[in-house]
Amino acid sequence: MNTLDYLVLLGTLVGITAYGVWRTRGRRDLKSYLKGTGNNSWLVIGLSVMATQASAITFLSTPGQGYEGGLGFVQNYFGAPVALIVISVVFLPIYRRLDVYTVYEYLGQRFDRKTRLLSAALFLIQRGLGAGITIYAPAIVLSTVMGWRLDFTIIGTGLLAVIYTVSGGSDAVSVTQKYQIGMIFAGMLAAGWVLVAQLPANVSLTDALTVANHFHRLDAVDYSPDLHRRYTFWSGLLGGGFLALSYFGTDQSQTGRYIHGGSLRESRLGLMFNAVFKIPMQFLILLLGVLMFVFYQYETPPVFFNETAWKQQAASGKDGAQLHALQADFNAAHAEERQELSTWLAARRSGDLPAADVARDLALAAESRAQSARDETKNLIRRTDAKLGNDADYIFITFILRHLPHGIIGLLVAAFFAAAISSKAGELTALGSTTTVDLYRHIVRQDLPDAHYLVASRWFTAMWGVVAIAFALFAQLTENLIQASNILGSVFYPVVLGVFLTAFFLRWVGGTAVFWAAITAQLAVYVLYRTLTISYLWYNLIGCVLCMALAVAVQLVLSRETSSSLS
């Protein structure tokens, strides 16, 4: 990064933070601080929902997923449109009619205090940790690549979000998110444009996609019923659908973005905006990774994309000689692959199909050897330090720094930070409002003036900012970052969703039954997660159904006991 990049980066981040503070100056009452002014249009709501969900992890890690595994990850989102329709039909009208600050208030009205507190507590644990991942994700990658100090990067990112969220509350999040998401889209489009423009002159976009297809990067939909496969049509539609239902429908960081919209119509349209654009957005980000894979068939990529870690281990570790040997193998295989790909495309153009087939098979064999060298390198690095073994999160940033022009580099790095900050701001305002409304005002200090709760809310928002920063400082993540985020959600979300679905659809089930069912189901999901090897998406379905089934069973037992004691 040069001076221009740093100017773009700092100007953008400080500008958006200052704008958020300025636009929402003078928020003096609790309602407008926690709920906003309530006149947001569907576009603001839709973009706010999108920006809260799509954090820096989405834009930094997803292209790496596309590079490594192709388009298959898009199946994760197949259930989202269905889930958003269910929320629009069932959840949203109830939340709006009761005019609640948080969705856990509804559970208090429908069931009892303990169920409300349990759900709020599960949300606070899950989202509090999630907020840490939200800032850890870009910080670990960008600090490693740029040579910045990790702790300073985490603290700086976290503080920017804390400043305007504490200052302006819910509206500050909404008004800044529309600019942040605009900047993110501009950055991603610029990256895609430059990527396609930098393909060799004799390789068209159609050629690039053909190459990607023969390397299995366009295999987007897998209809296999195998539960152990991480991403299939079924796990995406059912598991992903339940994940989306719980995330968009019961997580206050999302519900807070749309239930206080200008009207029911505006809120619904905001949700439908996401239902229509979520899959195409994820597809395009993954496609960027797929095209990056093709681009790197004609440019030599590093054998391991976290080059800082590779260099450190190659220089100091006992495996240095082996790492260098693997790099040589990788480069040789890659050079052969590039040569065979050119031969293959030329033979296809001239209509010499037998020669094309031979060249393609040789290219695939060379790719297989290159991939083996890459896998061995990962294993060697993982053996020394497990959390460094996955370099997928470094693929896109490596491409950006090596191949994009200055100015656009600054824009994209700013976009990553903007995504982290906008997502964290949405989470912080939800954590602050849930702590204030569901715990503090409900249990600790009741019936005080709103001015008191406004001050408390600001303090709680700041406190969660500090907790998230502290968690990010001590985080040790070995999974690809976007998967770690989804796994965390899949373990905690389903039970909360089960409680909400019981509330909506099983009217005869009471608070005590659902409370004990939720605790048992949460423990069961955790044990299953630790013991089974099925795709994590399935826990969303299992946890939810288990919670509802247990609630019904406990309610039947309780009803029988009540009727026998009466008789």
Binding site: F78, V90, N213, A275
Partner: protein, 48 residues
């Protein structure tokens, strides 16, 4: 006004406010989903 005086038949989804009005919007959204699934399934065949 009696039940039979309603100018249009009542929504079959009683208790789901606005469902009848929004039904076409939801169908369009589901149509987009189906379109994407079909397109993504066929994508490898488009670049043989």
């Amino acid at each position: 006004m009696s039940f039979h005086d309603h100018p249009t038949s009542p929504s079959p989804a009683t208790g789901l406010p606005g469902f009848a009005t929004w039904r076409s919007v939801y169908l369009v959204v589901l149509g987009f989903l189906a379109l994407w699934v079909v397109l993504l399934t066929l994508l490898p065949r488009l670049f043989p």
